[in-house]
């Protein structure tokens, strides 16, 4: 099977491409910088029609992961990478007659800020999504699912909080902050959150390529919700750094997030801010998901339990 993976420079894209290669698929990857994978590589921007056309043509299936995932930044950058990028990929699929697209989305596209406890994949809603990332991904998912047709079967998969060895997003940020003593627990730290070990998320995406499900979003997680403070503590323990000790009341964190966002926006700073309202909500309210439909549709189950994932992460840090 010939499969294109867009955005293979990130952790999930790289692991997924490796999983496809391991089972003998003919893999092409598309991203701006070399990913260092033993496969055909097209370098370019996902919003560049020429590069995308070259990568898409002749594929049996597309796994579209490429996205801007930063916590802050100006809206046009999100719109270009996430909305225009998705539209470009969809157009190329139609032009090249590719029959299958797996659009990688995010549960945040349907998160309006209130606690999510055991919910399924609600429809993406750009009007209520929190922050530029979620809003742009909501628009992108809507475009992708609207393109689902008899000739192009589109499935949206929303992996939730993916982590694992080599993660430069979630894990590394937490560890960096914890090391410098700037990782507080918000509120009681009891909010239950789902996370996904990277190998499980990659296996779900491979299963999504093979699946006949289409025209719907599916949330993917380990199906093992944990109190957020426990997740933070175990990630820190795996990395060998002290866990969070300070508690910050949620309203304080939320207000601080608002101030920080204002400062960053006003001064045009591009660095990752210490706190945003979106982040405060993510760290203080429950968000865990009903996995029954996902597991039925993908005929997939997470092979790596959280405990095993933490052990693998610890081994990876120990080997560094």
């Amino acid at each position: 099977m010939r499969v294109l993976v867009t955005g293979a420079s990130g952790m999930l894209g790289r692991v997924t491409a490796q999983a496809l290669l391991a089972r003998g698929d003919e893999v092409t990857v598309l991203q701006r910088r070399p990913a260092g994978l033993p496969c055909r590589e097209v370098l370019g921007d996902v919003a560049d029609p020429g590069a995308v056309r070259r990568a898409v043509t002749g594929q049996d299936a597309i796994l579209h992961l490429a996205a801007k995932v930063d916590v802050v930044g100006p809206w046009p950058e999100y719109a270009r990478a996430n909305v225009v990028g998705t539209r470009t990929v969809l157009g190329a699929c139609r032009a090249a007659g590719v029959p299958r697209l797996v659009h990688v989305s995010s549960p945040s596209v349907a998160h309006a800020g209130a606690a999510l406890t055991g919910v399924g994949a609600e429809p993406a809603d750009p009007a209520t999504a929190r922050g530029n990332y979620a809003r742009s991904k909501a628009l992108a998912e809507r475009l992708a699912l609207a393109a689902d047709s008899a000739s192009l079967a589109v499935l949206a998969v929303r992996p939730h909080l993916v982590w694992g060895p080599g993660d430069t997003q979630l894990v590394q940020r937490i560890v960096t902050r914890a090391r410098s003593g700037r990782l507080p627990v918000l509120g009681t730290g009891a909010a239950l959150i789902d996370t996904t070990y990277v190998d499980n998320a990659a296996a779900a995406l491979v299963a999504a390529v093979d699946s006949e499900a289409h025209g719907e979003p599916l949330v993917v997680s380990n199906g093992q919700p944990r109190p957020v403070a426990e997740v933070l503590a175990r990630l820190c323990a795996a990395a060998g750094v002290p866990g969070p000790r300070r508690h910050l009341p949620f309203p304080v964190a939320w207000a601080a997030g608002a101030v920080v966002e204002g400062v960053w926006t006003a001064t045009g700073r591009r660095s990752t801010p210490p706190l945003t309202r979106f982040l405060a909500e993510q760290l203080a309210t429950a968000h865990w998901f009903d996995q029954r439909r996902t597991r039925e549709a993908l005929r997939w189950r997470p092979e790596v339990p959280l405990e095993e994932g933490f052990a693998r992460l610890a081994a990876w840090y120990a080997a560094r």
Binding site: P225, W254, D290
Partner: protein, 852 residues
């Protein structure tokens, strides 16, 4: 028939397709446009004709339209002048309204069978229609209504207030107050959108005219023009022989209990369900009424259940007493109190029974017993039975509000009480004459309204001569209230045959004969002695504090009757075990004569039974399993507990001879609807069959229907499984199971494994999230708890240990210093409350509202 453009859009719960209008001419030829809700079923099996009261409209019945039984048409008209039907120039009298309804059903082509459904003053109108259409009538359903002013009643105060001429016009027509207040009576309060829907047809003064006219048509005065027709309906329904169902909200400030009693007296065959907590607008306060009505209607044409027992082949519950009428040996010994011989007790019961009859107690009368466990209570129980009455017993642990709710709904005819019990009866406003258990000073008698004390009743009885035996197997003998651990206490009704079967079951289970004597270390058990034909002794301890009994106190009570058997509750046994060290040699010898210890009321830890071996070296240790509805179901000995070992749940042993246990397997969402099975290893709701199982729940038709939906079987609400050896393991309560995506987790087995951990005193396993994909949460109480009631995340080491022990995926481990427990046993954890608190904590913080 036209579709109605007049119904506003977006009324919650109404399908606009139900809304119709039809023009009907009345007897004078005047044409009126009716508005109705109609599910439009063609060629129906039957029709539910639903009549609203004042000032509601057909909107009241929307849930019943939605829940229509298969093949049934549901028609709910707006009465003329009301709802979205035509307004009228004149007031409409009751007789006319009844005729109007007949004109409407004729115009709609309704030919029967018809079940009428009426609420409030719609009840009278619907019954008027019913009496005029007997050939079509299949049944009647009534909710919070009245057909008559009960004797001596001055009319519901609120309506009378609205009835005063100046007030009526102002309240009912001039302003929307009456319309608004009616929906404000609802408990729990209605959502604003629903209240607005009720008010929608009554927006202007001219739209409300009929609301005031309706109130004016209530015939309070004898010379009221509608009085004749109202009385004809009230009398006419005495002859209705169709099935009837009464649905009642006891918190109704308008139609109180006396209106229900009046209806039941006119229709004694009616089934009844009281929805505890519901008020006047029953269809709003108890939305589940719709399913109950649909079930009841569906059952109308199902095979009728086996007729109630009419014979009298079972032993009388007082038979053992009668058999020992000449026996001068002790029947009941109260250590530190008196001794009553069999002959004395028999005499007293006979005299009391005759006295109760002489004082006016009818056979079948319900007598509330508010007497602390004592010789007086024992005599009163058997005397009420012997007189053909029904004892009504409620646990004081429910507290005054809980007792009040239970007893006020039990339709008492009389109360026997101690001074304290009678004071409570007065505070609770219980009906019926009062009999004092002991002599009282004259002022107290007057204050408490005492008709007679027991000694006076005995004298009355001696003068009147023996009471005839009027009892039969199928007669009610007892209403026992459950502990209310999972909702309001339920009244459980036992017939005479079932009481006899229960006594026989206990006798057989423990091999009791007239040669045995037992100690009631838990005082209420003493009441059983005369029924079992076994002499008993009651230790000298405060009956309200069983935990004060010492080993020496037990030995004293054993010696008093040379007891062979000890009946106890776990609370009493803990202290007995703890004080064993102080026993003298003589006391030990007396205790060595005990052959059997039976501990009931709550699960007894095996470790406690083992420690009791030191106190009762020769005794077999037994603990039965059962519930208010069926006791005992199984029995297990200490040896059997030890042989069974650890497993998923508590091993309660094998079903007793004559008792059958089956399992109704759980679905993935935690319900138990599958057919019953005896297959080992299958977890589900425990179902019981036996001659001693309850007859029914009292005044809870829908609850009874659900609990006995497998004919002949009682659903216990407990969850468990049978093992290969035929032993039953109890794994928790049905509402407490945790339906996860990987399967249903039952709490008890996990709790037991976690409670084995060092540093853990107690654990509760609950679920959070939607059924079918819940996450398991373990809440632990540490060995050395503080006083914190709130929940908090556990430290990582504890969380790891709990996860390792649990044997199932655990999302969160929380700690607390106290788990909420039931009032009666102080041991059943209210996992529903724990789950609610855990869900709140684990949902995390709330985003500031204004930014959501």
């Amino acid at each position: 028939m036209n579709s109605a453009p007049l119904l506003p859009a977006g009324l919650p719960g109404v399908d606009p397709a139900w809304s119709r209008t039809v023009v009907v001419a009345d007897a004078t030829g005047a044409k009126h446009t009716w508005h109705l809700l109609d599910n439009g079923v063609r060629d129906p099996v039957g029709t539910l004709l639903c009549v609203h009261g004042n000032p509601t409209w057909s909107y009241l019945w929307r849930r019943l339209v939605a829940a229509a039984p298969p093949g049934w048409r549901v028609v709910a008209p707006d009465q003329l002048g009301m709802g979205f039907s035509d307004r009228l120039p004149e007031p409409r009298a009751l007789a006319q309204r009844i005729d109007d309804l007949g004109d409407l059903t004729a115009a709609l082509g309704i030919t029967g069978p018809v079940v009428t459904v009426g609420h409030d003053w719609g009840g009278v109108v619907s019954l008027g229609w019913a009496l005029a259409h007997r050939d079509q009538l299949r049944g009647v359903v009534l909710a919070n209504t009245a057909v008559a002013m009960p004797e001596g009643d001055l009319g519901p105060a609120l309506i009378r207030l609205a009835h005063a001429p100046g007030v009526r016009a102002a309240v009912t027509v001039g302003t929307p107050v009456f319309v608004r207040v009616t929906t404000a009576l609802s408990r729990p309060p209605l959502p604003a959108a629903v209240r607005n829907a009720f008010a929608a047809p009554y927006a202007g003064r001219d739209r409300r005219r009929a609301v005031g006219d309706f109130v004016a048509d209530i015939p309070f005065r004898r010379d009221h023009p509608s009085r004749v027709r109202q009385e004809a309906v009230a009398e006419g329904i005495r002859s209705l022989d169709v099935p009837a169902l009464l649905l009642w909200g006891p918190r109704d400030p308008v139609f109180g209990q006396r209106y229900l009693d009046d209806l039941r007296q006119r229709m004694p065959h009616a089934a009844l369900h009281r929805y505890e907590g519901a008020s006047h607008l029953l269809p709003e306060d108890a939305p589940q009424y719709a399913r109950a009505v649909a079930q009841w209607v569906t059952d109308l044409d199902a095979t009728p259940p086996a007729p109630a027992l009419a014979g009298d082949t079972a032993e009388r519950p007082w038979a053992a007493l009668a058999a020992r009428a000449d026996d001068e040996s002790p029947a009941v010994v109260e250590v530190g109190g008196g001794t009553v011989s069999w002959a004395q007790l028999h005499r007293r019961v006979e005299d009391l029974a005759a006295g109760l009859r002489a004082a006016g107690l009818r056979p079948g009368a319900r007598v509330g017993l508010l007497v602390e466990p004592s010789a007086d209570l024992t005599a009163a129980v058997y005397a009420v039975w012997r007189a053909g009455g029904v004892i009504v017993v409620v646990d004081r642990g429910l507290g005054l509000p809980g007792m009040r709710r239970a007893l006020r709904g039990a339709s008492l005819d009389a109360v026997i009480g101690s001074a304290q019990g009678l004071a409570a009866a007065r505070a609770m406003g219980l009906p019926g004459p009062r009999f004092a258990a002991g002599p009282l000073p004259a002022p107290a008698r007057r204050a408490l309204g005492v008709a007679h004390d027991l000694a006076e009743l005995e004298a009355l009885g001696r003068a009147a001569g023996p009471a005839p035996d009027v009892s039969a197997d199928g007669d009610d003998r007892a209403v026992l209230f459950t502990s209310g651990a999972t909702g309001p206490a339920k009244g459980v009704v036992y017939t005479q045959a079932q009481v006899a079967a229960q006594l026989a079951q206990v006798r057989a289970a423990y091999g009791l004969t007239a040669a045995d004597r037992f100690v009631a270390a838990f005082a209420p058990f003493a009441v059983l002695g005369p029924g079992l034909g076994v002499a008993s002794s009651v230790p000298d301890v405060d009956v309200t504090a069983p935990g004060t009994l010492t080993a020496a106190g037990l030995a004293y009570a054993v010696r008093a009757v040379d007891a062979t058997v000890v009946f106890a509750a776990p609370a009493a046994l803990r202290r007995v075990a703890a004080t064993a060290g102080g026993l003298t040699a003589e006391q030990r010898t007396a205790l060595a004569g005990v052959r059997l210890l039976m501990s009931a009321g709550a699960p007894v830890p095996a470790a406690l039974l083992r420690r009791l071996r030191e106190v009762l070296p020769a005794a077999e240790m037994h603990t039965p399993y059962g519930m208010t509805e069926a006791l005992p179901v199984t029995d297990v000995s200490l040896e059997e507990i030890e042989a069974a070992g650890a497993g998923d749940g508590v091993c309660v042993g094998r079903p007793l001879p004559g008792v059958a246990v089956r399992i109704s397997p759980l679905s993935p969402t935690g319900t138990a609807d599958a057919p019953l099975t005896a297959e080992p290893g299958v977890t589900g709701e425990v179902c019981v069959r036996g001659a001693h199982v309850k007859d029914r729940y009292d005044a809870l038709w829908a609850t009874e229907r659900a609990a006995s939906r497998d004919p002949g079987w009682h659903r216990t609400g407990d969850v468990g499984h049978l093992d290969l050896a035929g032993r039953l393991w109890v794994e928790g309560r049905l509402p407490h199971v945790v339906p996860t995506a990987a399967g249903v987790v039952t709490p008890v087995g996990v709790e037991q494994r976690v409670e084995q951990l060092d540093g853990v005193a107690a654990a509760a396993v609950v679920g959070v999230g939607p059924a079918g994909t819940q996450a398991v949460v373990v809440v632990v109480v540490p060995d050395r708890p503080g006083r914190r009631r709130s929940l908090a995340p556990a430290a990582p080491a504890l969380a790891d240990a709990v996860r390792a022990a649990a044997g199932t995926e655990v999302a969160a481990v929380l700690v607390t210093d106290r788990l909420p427990v039931d009032v009666r046993h102080q041991s059943k954890v209210d996992r529903t409350a724990v789950a609610r608190r855990a869900a709140r904590l684990l949902a995390g913080s709330r985003t500031p509202a204004r930014h959501r």
